[in-house]
């Protein structure tokens, strides 16, 4: 045989690190699609907006689909991470930074300067530029012109669908990954994108409500305008707001108990959906340092406290000047909140005291911080002020700093720098609540397979939440962590079959050991039975 034998016979893509001609064409196709959007942004007036919008979105989709098929369909099934730390875009190289700056810039304009996207810049407040390009689609779905949120929602959904397809091809040997990805694609397209539009068509007084977006992630759900809009819409509005309350207090705890927080974070949630699909190429960039974990615990719980105080203050404020014959007065409301928090706090301290250890301290501090703030709020007499700040001001601060800057600009704009889940990990108050439930009251865990770990680090490397999975696996210990979103990639990339996501009994779920399975039984007993 000669030296040349591999080239012509190759079923597999001959060069793993460089893209093929077909992929180059696919890339160019996608870029042409993007270029149409850029032209629109620069106020190019297209003769037929519907046609050009279709072309733009179509070309982007075709580009991603063809690129992915070429990347994965010609290869044998398996883990496809070759070169992820070599490629500039996925290893914080020049292209990574360029993408980060572009995405961040987009978010800044979207949240703070939508007029540059063309919002209401035309005659009589009609749209121009990029937003105008999306008018035909918006008209088609709900009979109104597009807003910046409609543009964003469309691109967001497109990203989840197209990159979701890519992800499904990448993990064609892994049904857990495929089903999970179909699920996030479904919830994004249906619940976040289409259903709200149709709801508007049916009843245009209802506020935008993505049913799967649960308070406190959906921090504006209990805003005065939102609640008023729901309540002024009769039985449907009332049903929706009751559903919103049940979501966080009843549905969420039950599902998290049975399946862990993954039922939401990596199967339903839109933020998670984008991270798992478009963000997949950046998942390994999250920091696994112990210091990052420490920062995470303080930051995410601070945001949670902030969101609880903010929401309570908001509701408290508008309860004040609402009609006084309503049973829910300020006094009743603040007592309910304090009562509920105390119930959770005391319950956890009593039933879970042996599992808490150090975490209890931060939990207690957070609890008392909320309580103190609420009480000060109630008894300072100045009904609208919390720490001399108006409830409304607190709400807008939350909206700007957490809702826009943290979750959008940093959370998504920094994908190529901080990894795909920095918002989910450091900021999302919903994730904090689900994580609390998952750590203390859930059947979910990642089981470690006896003594089979070889400490290679593939699991930790691919954890988008920055969990040092190996730290547990190499001790033969199950992974039970608040932050785990159950994406299952650690299990997929493990070369030795060590990790399995499972829902099982609570007993023995957390099982730290010193000596791993496989050694002398007497030694294991001696050291582990302490």
């Amino acid at each position: 045989m000669s030296n040349k034998l591999n080239h012509s016979m190759s079923l597999a893509r001959p060069d793993a690190l460089h893209i093929t001609t077909k992929q180059t064409v696919a890339l160019i196709t996608g870029i042409v699609g993007l270029f149409i959007l850029v032209l629109a942004l620069l106020n190019t007036v297209f003769p037929n907006k519907g046609l050009f919008l279709t072309a733009a979105l179509g070309l982007i989709t075709i580009g991603i689909v063809v690129y992915s098929r070429e990347a994965y369909n010609s290869k044998l099934e398996g883990i496809k991470n070759d070169g992820q730390w070599f490629k500039s875009i996925s290893s914080r190289g020049v292209w990574g930074w360029v993408l980060g700056v572009v995405l961040t810039g987009f978010y800044v304009v979207l949240y703070f300067y939508p007029k540059y996207l063309g919002l209401g810049q035309g005659v009589d407040g009609s749209n121009t530029g990029l937003i105008a390009l999306f008018d035909p689609l918006s008209q088609l779905l709900s009979g109104r012109n597009a807003s910046q949120w409609f543009v964003y929602g469309t691109l967001y959904t497109l990203a989840i669908l197209a990159f979701g397809y890519k992800f499904i091809l990448k993990y064609k040997h892994n049904r857990y990954q495929q089903i999970r990805t179909v699920s996030v694609m479904f919830f994004q397209l249906g619940f976040a994108f289409l259903i709200p539009e149709f709801m508007y068509v049916m009843n245009n007084d209802l506020p935008y409500y993505d049913l799967k977006s649960v308070w406190p992630l959906n921090y504006y759900l209990f805003d005065e305008w939102s609640v008023n809009a729901f309540l002024s819409n009769g039985i449907i509005g009332l049903a929706l707001i009751i559903f919103g309350i049940l979501s966080i207090f009843v549905i969420t705890p039950i599902l998290t108990y049975k399946y862990g927080k993954r039922w939401y974070c990596s199967w339903v949630c839109g933020c998670g959906g984008l991270a798992e699909t478009a963000g997949d190429s950046f998942r390994h960039l999250s920091s696994k340092k112990l210091s990052a974990w420490k920062l995470e615990r303080w930051l995410i719980h601070t945001v949670l406290v902030f969101s609880i105080v903010m929401t309570t203050a908001m509701v408290y404020t508008y309860l004040g000047y609402d009609k006084n014959d309503f049973w829910l007065t300020r006094g009743v409301f603040i007592s309910l909140v304090i009562g509920f928090l105390t119930f959770v706090f005391v319950g956890v301290l009593y039933f879970k005291r042996q599992e808490l250890g150090k975490d209890a301290k931060s939990g207690a501090i957070g609890y008392f911080a909320v309580l103190a703030l609420l009480l000060i709020m109630h008894f300072t007499g100045t009904t609208e002020h919390v720490f001399f700040v108006k409830g409304g001001a607190l709400r807008s601060a939350y909206g700007i700093y957490i809702g826009s800057i943290f979750s959008g600009v940093i959370g998504t704009g920094f994908y190529p720098i901080l990894g795909s889940r920095s918002w989910c990990r450091f900021g999302c108050p919903m994730a904090a609540i689900l994580g609390f439930q998952q750590r203390l009251f859930s059947k979910f865990r990642i089981t470690t397979n006896g003594g089979q770990c070889i400490s290679c680090g593939n699991c930790s490397n691919s954890c988008e939440m920055g969990i040092d999975v190996r730290h547990y696996a190499q001790k033969g210990e199950n992974i039970v962590r608040s932050s785990c979103v159950g994406c299952g990639i650690c299990s997929a990339v493990c070369p030795r079959g060590v990790l399995k996501l499972e829902n099982d009994t609570l007993k023995g779920r957390i099982n730290p050991t010193e000596i791993l399975l496989g050694n002398d039984v007497d030694l294991m007993d001696l050291v582990n039975q302490k």
């Binding site: 079923l11 690190l17 044998l76 992820q84 730390w85 857990y176 003594g451 399995k500 039984v521 007497d522």
Partner: protein, 434 residues
């Protein structure tokens, strides 16, 4: 304070150090000439493939060692003065110890092939081998072909590595089927096909005769023993097994076989000196195990055991049921208990073999042909639970029980297709025809 010095910062040495620290306040120093910090040797391949960077293969952050008062010393031990308990380093300095642990691991075998020390010839064991490979095979322009000599676990990993950079690979295997000294033929042949599906030029029953040099002392080609064929290449990977890395101990009074001879307490013939991991050789093999066990898991287990002995609880190395794992390109392999190849199995060992039609999954269950006692299982492409098989081996279950209860042992991710029913029906059919 007693000073424990450990030569070697691999899994054996580091496990010993960690456990000594848990049990005592002794002064601990780990010596290594290879790297500053402990890394997972088994993960070296993923660095070349771009899945991870070197720092990701380090299981502990760099502050860990200081925090746990484990001193790290970079240096190459040239000789050991056991009389005065002093280590002499190639760099000229010395280190005094009270107890010494030798955990120096292995080095790649070289069988005296002409040209085996040329530039571009390398093993794949040390961090330096990886650096060497990166230098000689950065891409398929610089390295137009690589030849791998030796069909074992490291050989197939090296093939996968080179494949990830689209470097054509010729894989010379002495045996007539891949790793069939260890694997039963059904499995071994499935792996042969899997290797070829990855477009690797697998040459079975083929030996290396010599490696030829160009005018600059670099690899130019290899010559095949059987056919005399010359294969041009830029890199030659020598992966024909490993042997204990103990030559520096030659004149120190140690009883040496291939490795450092130890008793069941992992003690060498010299007092206060122990040897563990790949470099230790048992006087008498333990059960079906080999006298030298060059496996990650056994290195760790010896470390766990020796820490007890050093901290005053003298303990025998008494490993439990055998287990191991590997990954052949895309096919994961796990084994629990003992399944021997046709070449080395005893006459009482009988096999039940099932293979999935897609040719990437199979299992082999070994049992005693008279008593039906379950002896072990090899599983390819299906993950199984260590804990369950460990229990079944202790309970001395029979083969019927194991096959009927395989569901309990399944460890594949949720929603994966399950094969227990198919395996059971194949098993029943084979019983009827047998």
């Amino acid at each position: 304070m007693e000073h424990i010095v450990i030569i070697g910062n691999g899994i054996s040495g580091v496990t010993t150090a960690r456990h000594i620290r848990k049990l005592s306040d002794k002064k601990i120093t780990i010596v290594s000439a290879e790297t500053d910090y402990f890394f997972s040797r088994t993960a070296l391949m993923y660095i070349y493939m771009g899945h991870m960077k070197f720092e990701h293969t380090q299981p502990y952050e760099n502050w860990f060692w200081k925090k746990n008062r484990i001193d790290l010393k970079k240096g190459y031990v040239k000789t050991v003065d056991t009389e005065n308990k002093i280590l002499h380093f190639a760099e000229g300095d010395t280190l005094q110890y009270d107890k010494l642990v030798i955990a120096t691991g292995s080095k790649p075998n070289k069988f005296g092939w002409p040209g085996q020390d040329l530039e571009g010839v390398m093993g794949m064991y040390h961090k330096q081998d990886l650096d060497n490979l990166e230098a000689h095979a950065p891409n398929n322009k610089v390295c137009k072909r690589a030849v791998i000599v030796g069909g074992g676990l490291i050989g197939i990993e090296l093939a996968e590595m080179l494949n990830s950079r689209s470097i054509p690979v010729t894989f010379l295997v002495r045996e007539n089927s891949f790793w069939n000294g260890v694997l039963p033929s059904g499995e071994s042949e499935m792996i042969n096909r899997h290797i070829k599906n990855h477009h690797i030029d697998l040459r079975l029953s083929t030996n290396l005769k010599e490696i030829k040099s160009d005018e600059n002392g670099k690899v130019k080609s290899v010559i095949i023993e059987e056919t005399g064929e010359e294969i041009e290449c830029n890199v030659v990977g020598l992966t024909a097994g490993v042997s204990p890395n103990v030559s520096f101990l030659k004149d120190s009074g140690f009883e040496l076989g291939r490795g450092v001879k130890v008793n069941r307490f992992l003690e060498t013939n010299i007092e206060s000196v122990y040897a563990i991991g790949d470099c230790a050789e048992q006087h008498q093999a333990i059960g079906n195990r080999r006298p030298i066990e060059a496996v990650w898991y056994t290195g760790r287990m010896m470390g766990e055991t020796l820490a007890q002995t050093i901290c005053g609880n003298r303990m025998e190395y008494k490993p439990g049921h055998w287990f191991n794992s590997a990954k052949f390109m895309d096919i994961e392999y796990q084994t629990y208990g003992w399944v021997f190849s046709e070449r080395s199995k005893k006459e009482y060992e009988q096999h039940f073999h099932w293979k999935h039609e897609d040719d990437t999954k199979c299992i082999t269950v070994a049992y005693h042909k008279d008593t039906n006692k379950f002896l072990g299982i090899n599983t390819f492409g299906i993950r199984m639970r260590h804990e369950v098989f460990d229990r079944w081996l202790s309970e001395e279950r029979d083969v019927d029980y194991v096959i009927k209860n395989l569901t309990e042992a399944n460890f594949d991710p949720e929603f994966y297709k399950r094969f227990e029913a198919e395996i059971l029906s194949t098993y029943n059919q084979q019983l009827q025809t047998a």
